[in-house]
C-alpha cells in the first residue's frame, strides 16, 4: 500500500530483518522499471503466510499487483500466474516455514519445470507470525516455544537442497546489506528460469541472529557471513557444492545455469509439435 492505511493492522517489530528485504525488493522493481520501461503493474508479488508474506502490503511507492494466498502455496500460485501470462514479472516472497516446511513439496516440481519466477525467501530460522516455534532452519538442539527440551530435528541447509533439486539460479543474501541484496534480486528476476534468493532476515523478537551473522569483535564473535569469492564459477555446480562445505552464510550468487530453457519457453516450443485444432474440428471428430 502506497500510503499509510489506517485499516491495515499488521506491523513488523522494530529492527525486523524483513524491512531490509522490502527495501531491496522495491529497489529491484524500480531498477527494472527504469531499465525495461515496463510499468509497475507488470510485476506480481505472490506472498506466503507469515510475518515475511506481509511484505506484499508494506511495499511503499507505486504498487505492483499482489496475491496474498494461503500458507505454503505461493509457488504453485505463481505457476498459475506466470503460465497464464508469461510476460509478467512474477516474484514470490515467503518465510522459511512457509517455503521449506508446509510448502516444501512445491520446490522440486518448479525446479524441474524451471518455472520462470524469482523467489525471495526470508529465513529467520523460526516461525515468527505464530510466535516463535521451530522451523526447518532452526538449529539442532535450539530451545523454542515448540521445542522446550531442545530441537531434535537436524537443521536444514536450504542452499544445498536447492542445488540438489536443480534450481537453476541460487543466490544467498543478507537483509542488512540492502543494495547488494537488491542486486541479487535483480539478477534473480533477470534469470530465465527458477531463481531463489535466499535471504538471512533475522527475527529480532524470537531469533535475533544479527550478531552471529555480522560478528562482534568485542565479544569475540566471528562473522557468520562471508562473500562468495569473485572467481567462483557460477556455472559449476560442483564448485557451488564445495563452497557450501565451508559453513557459515555465503553472500552472492552460488549457481546460475544460463542454458536450460524456462518452462514458458518449453511450452512455446511444444506448440510447434502440437498442431492445435479448432473447437469445431474437435466436435466434428465425434460425428458418426
Amino acid at each position: 500500500m502506497s500510503k499509510k492505511n489506517e485499516e491495515y493492522d499488521f506491523k513488523w517489530c522494530p529492527g525486523c530483518g524483513d524491512f531490509g528485504v522490502r527495501r531491496a525488493l522495491e529497489m529491484a522493481m524500480i531498477d527494472r522499471l527504469e531499465e525495461t520501461g515496463l510499468p509497475i503493474e507488470n510485476n506480481v508479488v505472490v506472498a506466503g503466510i507469515g510475518c515475511s508474506g506481509n511484505l506484499v502490503h508494506l511495499l511503499e511507492g507505486s504498487q505492483p499487483y499482489g496475491f496474498h494466498g494461503i500458507h505454503g502455496r505461493s509457488l504453485p500460485i505463481s505457476l498459475g500466474v506466470k503460465m497464464a501470462r508469461p510476460e509478467l514479472n512474477v516474484v514470490v516472497v515467503a518465510g522459511d516455514g512457509d517455503f521449506l516446511s508446509i510448502g516444501g513439496e512445491h520446490i522440486g516440481p518448479q525446479a524441474a519445470r524451471n518455472l520462470n519466477v524469482c523467489a525471495v525467501i526470508m529465513d529467520n530460522g523460526v516461525y515468527g507470525l505464530t510466535k516463535g516455534q521451530s522451523s526447518p532452519t532452526t538449529k539442532l538442539g535450539e530451545i523454542t516455544s515448540s521445542t522446550p527440551f531442545g530441537k531434535i530435528e537436524s537443521q536444514l541447509n536450504p542452499l544445498e537442497l536447492y542445488l540438489t533439486l536443480g534450481v537453476s539460479f541460487i543466490a544467498s543474501g543478507f537483509s542488512g546489506q540492502v543494495r547488494p541484496l537488491a542486486k541479487l534480486i535483480t539478477q534473480g528476476m533477470e534469470h530465465k528460469g527458477f531463481s531463489i534468493v535466499h535471504v538471512q532476515s533475522p527475527c529480532t523478537t524470537y531469533n535475533d541472529t544479527f550478531e552471529l551473522l555480522k560478528g562482534n569483535v568485542q565479544k569475540g564473535i566471528e562473522p557468520g557471513l562471508w562473500e562468495v569469492p569473485e572467481d567462483h564459477d557460477t556455472s559449476d555446480k560442483g564448485a557451488a557444492q564445495q563452497l557450501l562445505q565451508q559453513g557459515g552464510v555465503p553472500v552472492g550468487v552460488l549457481y546460475d545455469d544460463t542454458f536450460r530453457p524456462s518452462m514458458d519457453q518449453q511450452v512455446e516450443q511444444m506448440w510447434a509439435r502440437a498442431e492445435p485444432k479448432t473447437v469445431q474440428e474437435l466436435v466434428d471428430a465425434f460425428e458418426f
Partner: protein, 571 residues
C-alpha cells in the same frame, strides 16, 4: 414380437475386448439411426481383472442403462458365473466357446469368437463376430451392418478394402453361426433416425469439449480415476497461443495454480475426484474470499478417503457445496446426462466469470465413462462470456461496496492485492468488524447473480414430486414416465443448478407436501439441503456403487406416495 430396445452386457477380463465390443455395438447401432448408451465398470487391476460393460440400444432416446439384461456375452467362465443371474429367462447368453464350455443353461450358445475372427484373416475382428450374432438375435438387416462397417473403415488408406471385407465376413460368420441355434429375441423396430447431426462420445469427453467451447484458457490436473481422461484430453487439445494445459504435482498444486491463472485473467479449470477434491478445500476458500473465477470439476466416485475408485456414487454434494472452513457456500452445477456434461461445463465457466469466484461442476463415474449419442452442439450458439474487466487507472479499490466490481488484470492499471486474509477495499489485511461484515455480505450477495430461470417441470399440480439430481436423472425420469403412464399421482422437477437453486423452482418446491429425492448416498444429502431451505424433502437412497434400477425406483416411489396418501387420509 417387435422390440423397441434391448440390453447387452459384455463381461470378461480386461484386455479381452469387453469395452471395445460394447462401444462397437453402440457405434454400429447409432450409425444406422438407433440410440445407444453404454454403462462401463472398470476392473480394479491394471491388466486383466474382471470387467463388464453394458450397452442399451433403442429406437427412442435412452435414459438409463436398462434394468434387465437381454443378452450376456460372456468372455470367460467367471463372467458367466458372475452375471448369468441378471439375464432374463427368455434372454440369450453368448459364450466364448474358445474359452469354456457351458452345459445345462438353455439360454446359452457357444460362439468361437477368436477362431472365427482368425478364419477371416483379421484377428482383431472378434467383436464383429459378436455384433453379427447380436444382429441376428434382434433381426437387424444385413445391409445395416455392411453400411456401418464400410463407413467406419473407409479412412482413405490402402488397406481399407481388405479390412472392410474381413469385418463383413466376420459379422456374417457370427450371424450364420447363431442362426443355426434357433435362438432369437424378437425383431427390433426399424430405427427412427433424427433429422439433425449427432455426435457420440463419453461424458468426460463432452465435459472437456464443453469447457473448450466455453473458452477455457488454462487447465491443470493430477491423475485420478475417473477424472484422468479430462486431463489427457486437455493436454492434447488445449494448446497454442494463450492456452495452457499441464499435469502438476498434486491437487494442491492444481487448485492453487488455477487460482493464479484466474487472478491473471484466464478462464481456468481443473478436474478431480473425491480424494483430490478434499485436498483442494483450503484453496477453494481462498478463491471465495479473494473473489477469483475458476471451475473445479468433481467426478464423483464412491466412499471417503480412497473409497471405491471405480464405482459410482453421489456422495460429494455436501463437500462440494461447503468445501471449506469459514462461511462458504459454493455455487454447484451437477450434470445428469452426457449432453449436460457439455452444456454444464460452459455454464460453470460462465458462472465463475459472472460472479467472480469458484464454481463446482459435479459429475460422476457412471457419466464420465458413459458413451452416448447426442445432438451435435451448434457452436455458433455458444458464447464465450468473460468477467467484467476494470479499465481505469491505478489506485483502484477492487473490493469496494457490496456489489460485484470489475476485476483488474495484472499487467494493466488497477493493481491491488488479491487477499486470502480478510481485507479492506484495496485488498489489505484488516480485522475490523465493519470490513468483515461488508466482505461477508458482499461474497454471499454475489450469489444472486447466478439465479437462473429455467428448470424442468411436469405434472406440477401434484402435491408430491420427484426431484433427482445429477446422474440419477436418467433412471428417475424413466421411472417417472412409467409412474405417470400408470396414473400414480406424482410430479417431476429437475435442474442442474443445485446452488443457487432457480428461485422460482424453490418457491414451487416449498408448496409441495413431499419432494422425493432419489440419490446415491447414505445420508440423503440433497434432500437435507432442500429441507434446510424449507422444502419437505425425503431421500430415496442407495449406496451399492451402482446406479439406480428403474424398477426399484418405481417400487419405492409408489410405496412412499401411498404411505403419504394413507397418512393424509388418516388411515
Amino acid at each position: 414380437m417387435e422390440m423397441r430396445d434391448f440390453v447387452v452386457r459384455f463381461a470378461g477380463e480386461g484386455g479381452q475386448g469387453v469395452v471395445t465390443s460394447a462401444e462397437g455395438l453402440a457405434q454400429a447401432a447409432t450409425q444406422v439411426g438407433y440410440h445407444a448408451l453404454t454403462f462401463a465398470t472398470f476392473p480394479s487391476q491394471i491388466l486383466g481383472g474382471p470387467t463388464w460393460t453394458q450397452a442399451r440400444i433403442a429406437v427412442d432416446a435412452i435414459l438409463s442403462p436398462g434394468d434387465d439384461v437381454d443378452v450376456l456375452v460372456a468372455f470367460n467362465q467367471d463372467a458367466y458365473d458372475e452375471h448369468n443371474s441378471e439375464v432374463r429367462d427368455e434372454g440369450v447368453i453368448i459364450f466364448n466357446s474358445n474359452e469354456f464350455q457351458l452345459e445345462g443353461d438353455s439360454r446359452g450358445f457357444g460362439l468361437p469368437f477368436d477362431e472365427l475372427a482368425r478364419s477371416t484373416g483379421n484377428n482383431r475382428a472378434a467383436n464383429m463376430v459378436i455384433i453379427g450374432a447380436l444382429a441376428h438375435l434382434v433381426d437387424m438387416p444385413q445391409r445395416y451392418l455392411e453400411e456401418f462397417v464400410s463407413k467406419r473403415f473407409t479412412r482413405g488408406r490402402s488397406g481399407d478394402e481388405e479390412i472392410i471385407r474381413s469385418n463383413i465376413e466376420a459379422m456374417t460368420l457370427g450371424r450364420d453361426h447363431i442362426s443355426e441355434s434357433g435362438l432369437a429375441l424378437g425383431a427390433l423396430a426399424a430405427p427412427n433416425p433424427p433429422d439433425f447431426a449427432q455426435i457420440m462420445l463419453k461424458g468426460n469427453e463432452a465435459l472437456a469439449l464443453g469447457a473448450l467451447a466455453g473458452g477455457l484458457d488454462f487447465y491443470v490436473g493430477y491423475p485420478i480415476s475417473p477424472a484422468t481422461t479430462i486431463l489427457i484430453y486437455m493436454e492434447r487439445n488445449l494448446v497454442g497461443e494463450g492456452k495452457f494445459a499441464h499435469q502438476v504435482s498434486s491437487e494442491i498444486e492444481s487448485i492453487t495454480a488455477i487460482l493464479g491463472a484466474g487472478f491473471a485473467g484466464k478462464k481456468a479449470m481443473t478436474a478431480t475426484a473425491g480424494p483430490g477434491f478434499s485436498l483442494m478445500s483450503e484453496g477453494l476458500g481462498l478463491g471465495w474470499i479473494a473473489e477469483i473465477p475458476l471451475v473445479v470439476v468433481d467426478v464423483q466416485r464412491g466412499g471417503p478417503a480412497t473409497g471405491l475408485p471405480t464405482k459410482t456414487e453421489q456422495s460429494d454434494l455436501m463437500a462440494c457445496m461447503f468445501p471449506a472452513h469459514g462461511d462458504v457456500r459454493m455455487p454447484v452445477i451437477a450434470v445428469g446426462t452426457v449432453e449436460e456434461c457439455f452444456y454444464g461445463a460452459i455454464k460453470a465457466l460462465t458462472w465463475s466469470e459472472r460472479y467472480q469466484g469458484p464454481v463446482i461442476l459435479m459429475t460422476e463415474m457412471s457419466l464420465a465413462e458413459r458413451v452416448q449419442n447426442i445432438a451435435k452442439p451448434d457452436l455458433s450458439q455458444v458464447e464465450d462470456r468473460r468477467r467484467q474487466v476494470y479499465e481505469g487507472t491505478n489506485g483502484y479499490h477492487r473490493y469496494a461496496g457490496l456489489e460485484l466490481s470489475p476485476m483488474p488484470i495484472p499487467g494493466n492499471p488497477g493493481a491491488y492485492v488479491a487477499n486470502g486474509s480478510e481485507h479492506d477495499d484495496m485488498g489489505d489485511t484488516t480485522h475490523l468488524a465493519s470490513r468483515h461484515i461488508q466482505m461477508t455480505e458482499r461474497r454471499f450477495g454475489k450469489l444472486k447473480l447466478l439465479e437462473e430461470d429455467e428448470y424442468e417441470r411436469d405434472n406440477v399440480e401434484e402435491s408430491i414430486a420427484i426431484m433427482p439430481w445429477g446422474g440419477s436423472k436418467g433412471p428417475a425420469l424413466e421411472a417417472y414416465n412409467q409412474l405417470k403412464a400408470s396414473g400414480v399421482p406424482v410430479g417431476w422437477y429437475y435442474t442442474m443448478y443445485l446452488n443457487p437453486l432457480p428461485p422460482k423452482l424453490l418457491e414451487e418446491l416449498k408448496k409441495k407436501d413431499l419432494v422425493i429425492v432419489p440419490e446415491l448416498n447414505y445420508q440423503g444429502q440433497f434432500a437435507s439441503i432442500l429441507r434446510s431451505q424449507g422444502v419437505k424433502a425425503e431421500a430415496i437412497t442407495q449406496y451399492t456403487g451402482l446406479p439406480f434400477k428403474v424398477r426399484d425406483l418405481v417400487k419405492r416411489v409408489t410405496e412412499v406416495t401411498e404411505a403419504v396418501r394413507k397418512e393424509a387420509a388418516g388411515v
